[in-house]
Symmetry: C2
Subunit: 191 residues, 2 copies
DNA sequence: TACTATTTAGAACGTTTGTTCCAAAATATT
DNA sequence: AATATTTTGGAACAAACGTTCTAAATAGTA
């Protein structure tokens, strides 16, 4: 029998993912990936396929992890508290790491021209909106938000606002600014 | 004396701008630009400088035109009506052309790594927010929005929501979906 | 009409791109 | 210890990249 892989494919993929996350798809070269992943060209092609295929795997990995993190952040004793904590957790992660959402970056760089990318992001987006919708439906049943509000629409509104928060952060690089906007959003949901 | 330019530099730049708008900076090659602008390589370099310089001019041109369009869309007999019409006009332009905001695309593709790009977009962003702020201040004085609302914060919130609307449109490609979100935003502003 | 400054078209430049290939190194089993 | 199988590092590839350069075409002036 032959050798086994000397590296952990998942671990090295995360290095690639972080690089794509930071630089974007087109600005990241194969040479960059070889350096950052600490792998040989051949090993990369053998393990992940070509650059585009590797990117899709990174994006899928990111999307799955992000959804998990959203659900983890949904702590609290009441549905609306869970929604609030999810929003605050996104803001916290953004200002702590200085990085915005890879899926959103990818939306604006690639989703209009790359069907595979669009599909991955859109599914992830729907998952997140669905999760919000469930929480908001619960919140309405408990009477935390008024009965005349549409949970689906509100869920989409919150998700769309994340993107607005990220853009604001990229331009302002101002932690407090983003926190203020998030609090404003939370206030709007509750009333 | 010598020849004069046979083409209109501004008109050709707009062709380049539309291409960058559609494909993004990195995915647009100099060869693409030569074809689309209908100009010789030498003429491009001579008139606009290198690719990056041409891009900055396109982005600046776009930003100025966008601000002008925003102000033009601010029609109405009352301040809040002007704000509402600005929002509706953005949605209309988006679903009619199928294109989102070039500056927002650029924000997520380049603004984190390119200082010149960041500067152009940030200034344009501030101009738009300032314009909203003025209208909302007027609206508050007239009593169209409640006195406890901060015009500046509300202005930033609306501007951030544009980005959310664009992202929603890219993913859903659903005119009605975006219009619903816009109406929801307008409702939130008024209450 | 001759002259001259400038634009024009496209060849050519050296890099960098993504990808493939191959010989050498390595390891789990026999 | 020998064998078999796979990984590994790096050379090699053609194509595409952004940019520069040159020679011919052009048009305003004298």
């Amino acid at each position: 029998m032959a050798r086994k892989k000397e590296f952990d494919p998942e671990e090295r993929m995360e290095k690639a993912r972080d690089l794509f996350w930071q630089k974007g798809y087109n600005a990241t070269s194969m040479e960059d990936l070889v350096q950052t992943m600490g792998l040989n060209r051949g090993s990369i092609y053998d393990t992940y396929g070509d650059k585009h295929s590797l990117y899709l795997q990174c994006l899928g990995n990111y999307a799955a992890e992000k959804l998990r993190e959203h659900k983890e952040a949904a702590m609290g004793t009441s549905p609306i508290e869970k929604v609030e904590n999810m929003i605050l957790s996104v803001v916290e992660a953004t200002v702590n790491t200085g990085k915005c959402c890879m899926a959103v970056n990818s939306t604006f760089e690639l989703a209009t021209v790359d069907q595979s990318v669009h599909s991955i992001i859109n599914n992830n987006w729907k998952d997140i909106v669905n999760f919000f919708e469930q929480l908001l439906t619960d919140a309405r049943e408990v009477g935390e938000i008024s009965a005349d509000k549409d949970p689906r629409l509100l869920a989409e509104f919150i998700a769309a606002n994340f993107t607005g928060l990220w853009q604001t952060y990229i331009l302002s690089r101002d932690k407090k600014q983003v926190e203020k906007l998030a609090q404003f959003l939370i206030g709007m949901i509750k009333n």
